[in-house]
């Protein structure tokens, strides 16, 4: 499978709207016109990941709606006491801001990557990775705190037993995604720094020519992780 150059596709002359969809899907060779195979594949992966996280959140919803035991109040469970003042959900709010900021720096990294500004791209990606690592660190702190307070997947001191299993499953899976994101951010940032995408150096695994699009594909994954957190924050912590 060769890398089809996308430059010859003139999207301006192609039909728009529903006719465009019909034309694209029934056309020759490529259904998704001005995206490369790599971007099409990351989107399809993200869609499948959407289903994974949807299933977790739906399982949590089902557990919470079908139990006759009161659900622990997340506002109190995740409260932090600072200087004698109890602030609800403080750490979770900080985690949200950290992850959103990392999404912002990532979006800018993608932008600078297409301007072929190696230095700025690599620095922004490293900042993104750092913020991601900080998020995982706070997640670990949260887990430690809750485990010390007696939260287990099968019991907790405040109410419905399913609270623990839903919490560990959902935040654990999300934290794993962030962790892998950080690792891949470091790998791609290193490639940017070395100039692999300027030299079109072949990847060690795929042996395909390196392109700056790799940064955008990395970005799509990273934004998705942030997107999932938006839903977890709303449904698990605020609901």
């Amino acid at each position: 499978m060769a890398d089809i150059p996308l430059t010859h596709i003139q999207t301006e002359t192609m039909p728009a709207g529903l006719k465009g969809i019909a034309a694209d899907l029934s056309s020759d060779q490529q259904a998704f016109k001005n995206v490369s195979w790599g971007k099409a594949m990351i989107w399809i992966f993200l869609l499948s990941d959407t289903f994974v996280f949807s299933c977790f959140l739906i399982a949590y919803m089902t557990a919470r709606m079908s139990t006759s035991v009161p659900w622990p109040n997340p506002s109190e469970v995740f409260a932090l006491e600072i200087g004698g003042v109890t602030l609800p959900l403080l750490l979770i709010a900080i985690m949200t801001f950290v992850l959103i900021s990392s999404s912002g720096t990532m979006a800018m990294a993608v932008n600078y990557a297409y301007r072929r500004d190696r230095r700025t791209t690599a620095i922004l990606m490293l900042v993104t990775a750092l913020l991601g690592a900080a998020f995982v660190g706070m997640q670990a702190f949260e887990w430690t705190k809750l485990i010390h307070e007696g939260v287990r997947p099968w019991e907790n001191p405040w109410g419905a037993a399913q609270f623990g299993s839903a919490f560990f499953m959902i935040t654990g899976f999300h934290g794993t995604h962030v962790t892998f994101g950080v690792i891949f951010l470091l790998i791609v940032a290193r490639k940017v720094w070395r100039g692999d995408f300027d030299r079109e150096a072949k990847g060690f695994f795929t042996s395909r020519k390196g392109r700056y699009e790799a940064v955008e594909i990395m970005g799509l994954y990273w934004h998705f992780v942030d997107l999932v957190w938006v839903f977890i924050f709303a449904f698990f912590y605020l609901w």
Binding site: D24, F32, S68, L89, I100, A107, H223
Partner: protein, 111 residues
């Protein structure tokens, strides 16, 4: 779909300012959703606000950060239509949960 932004040879080209504005909005919306909990808003108002801020944030991330607003509709629909199946699943499980709760209350004395 606007054609104001024309596709160059490779990738998406937008001014940095756009990302900073979206970033700012995400901060504002997150603060709002945090304040919902901070001020202890309860009842239908709480759920409406949480969902509104959530959908706005998700929309901004997907549309601008992930550039879906500038993709061809074939890709946009391929990504967004299947999410409808999730909503159907949600509805099925809401019904199921109601029934489970009903049987628990009726036969297990609410345990």
């Amino acid at each position: 779909m606007t054609h104001a932004v024309t596709e160059k040879a490779e990738g998406q080209h937008h001014p940095i300012k756009l990302y900073l504005i979206v970033w700012g909005w995400l901060f504002v919306l997150s603060t709002f959703s945090y304040l919902v909990d901070y001020f202890g808003v309860q009842g239908p108002m709480r759920y409406t606000l949480i969902l509104t801020f959530m959908i706005l944030k998700a929309g901004l991330i997907v549309a601008v950060f992930m550039h879906l607003a500038w993709e061809r509709l074939a890709l946009v629909y391929a990504m967004l239509v299947p999410v409808g199946a999730v909503l159907v699943f949600v509805w099925i499980m809401v019904e199921e949960s109601g029934y489970t709760l009903f049987t628990r209350v009726l036969f297990l004395n609410g345990s």
